[in-house]
Amino acid sequence: MDKLISIYWFAILTIVAVAVVYMVAVFYSQPYDVREVEVNLLVNKVADCLSRGGELSSDLFYEGNFNVGYKDNFLETCGITFNTERDWIELQYYFLVEFFNIDLSDTGFFLEEGSLNLISSCDIQDEGKYERLAECVEKRFYAVSDGKQYLIKILGIVRKTEKNVN
């Protein structure tokens, strides 16, 4: 009789232990979504590269106009890399920098890097249907250069859904 009770209690303990381990595993196996932090870092990095102390970088201009050649090596100049810790087929980052005059007219000059396919994710995200497609952040600031006033808009997008969302 004692033997039977011992076996029974061992079985109960095993069931409870398995249940506890399962609950802990399920709860803590969920990923952390750090994309909002990541995209803010990207936007801040781009902004820091473009403007220091309220002034736009002199490299942005050539003979009084925007330097179109600045786009070519922008990532290298600013020390930004789109390499990821995991191999994705497409780039997982995107940013767009637009420059406006003080009268809100577009200067026509912009800086763009990354995967263009991510832009549509922001529009869909606004509708609230698919909140986990990509993380989009837009920041705006003001800067001056040679007495002229400029408005700068930076849109940053990070996808990496497979790593951050379950």
Binding site: V26, D33, V37, L104, K139, F141, A143, Q149
Partner: protein
Amino acid sequence: MSIKNNKRGQVADTITWIVATIILIVVLMVFVFIANLLAKTKKIGGLTDSLDSGGEKEADRVEVKTILAYRLNGLNKFTINNWINESET
């Protein structure tokens, strides 16, 4: 007569154990179900890399650039602020 009474007592004992086991398993299943409900992706909030601009309001890192630019050229502040705040709406 005495054997019959003993049999009844043993059945009652066994039923107690079975009911207790069933209750235990049901309670465990409820906890597992609750754990599954609570388990979800944990979103880490935005970067709060900010500077204290005089104690009134914490300024965003990018916002600081605007503040510094105002010191160089403070014209059209109303237009600029409206344009910047558009993105927050």
